[in-house]
Symmetry: C3
Subunit: 160 residues, 3 copies
Amino acid sequence: MTDETVFQPIEKVSIVISKGSLDGVYPGLIMANGARMEGMEASLFFTFFGLEAILNKRMDNLKVATVGNPGMHMPTLIGALPGMSAFATKMMKKEMEKIDIPPVREFLTMIHDSGGELYACRATVDMYHLKREDFISELDGIISVGQFYEKAAGAQIIFT
Amino acid sequence: MTDETVFQPIEKVSIVISKGSLDGVYPGLIMANGARMEGMEASLFFTFFGLEAILNKRMDNLKVATVGNPGMHMPTLIGALPGMSAFATKMMKKEMEKIDIPPVREFLTMIHDSGGELYACRATVDMYHLKREDFISELDGIISVGQFYEKAAGAQIIFT
Amino acid sequence: MTDETVFQPIEKVSIVISKGSLDGVYPGLIMANGARMEGMEASLFFTFFGLEAILNKRMDNLKVATVGNPGMHMPTLIGALPGMSAFATKMMKKEMEKIDIPPVREFLTMIHDSGGELYACRATVDMYHLKREDFISELDGIISVGQFYEKAAGAQIIFT
């Protein structure tokens, strides 16, 4: 501890999104949007399954992960029925809408328009043989982990 | 790198708990408790499924996520049998007890009594139509993402 | 915000690995390796199921979590078939190899040889009744959460 502990406000966040489920993607988007609303710098780095959230063909159809998620209050075998994930997804989207949280594509555009930056992980892009045109047009770049760290100078890194 | 690199000790942590499974909740509680024991400031911010951990009706019955968790060493179909999660949960609680880690409710009270702060995420509370009285009495407040960032000034944000 | 906002580069990362699936372990290893390649200090702290990644008998057989992971594009019931996780694991290992990412054991040795540090969580080690010889020889120590925070002085803590 320093003598008097005057805490510096958080000025910047670099949020990593590594999951591809609806419930895995939204927390990072909400934190990025909240940061921009507070005047903080914010960037999102999509890696591994998180890439789904910025892929044109996938981002509108993300699903809630019903199995492996005891928080959903469904016995696991029921959670494994194909229809349950669709149902939970529909429910979640409806509730998100009620509290004014937009669908993923619209939310990303909103974050980008307010000054937030969107990056895809180079290694994951190469692993899945993807091209720039496969991604949402707002994407600011495809960058390496090293470049991610450079851009994260002065930021809190938040891995979701 | 600066010339001499005298690293500042971590003085404060703001831990986000976003999962509702027993194995998803404990790491954050352990890190908050460890921080307080070292004399660091610590706060917990419960969001999304993590809200389960501070809900009076749910917090005593959190379960281990057995499916979607290859680390459990159970073939996935067996992991999906309703009884397995209960079994894994019982085992985990027993092992936690052996190393002196208390049940969730008692652990939260301990963290709060030692000066740690507990907050619920406003958006999630609204999404699930919850009220203050649904939560553990130790809860210090229901706050927005913006307020979370303000309170996190000077802290390491740890998203679990 | 300070007056001019000259952001300090990230100099050090302390990465927590809490999951035991192949897709849960790799992001942390990639971030640690990327940090070392940029000349940053890097350490890995294995806790809960993450301990699997440094256990001699387990680390060569980590599996991809196919259920509870909608990003895999498999209907959940199919994802629960025992063979599917093995298939997804084989596919992932093959793709990782193509982009020059080595198997877990080799990757950990590489990170360690380049100056990265590897630590196991004392509480988890005690919970599973493990001994030093159960772990990869490169392990730098078994430490408490308090010691983890001490070693994380000046670092960005990244919980994966």
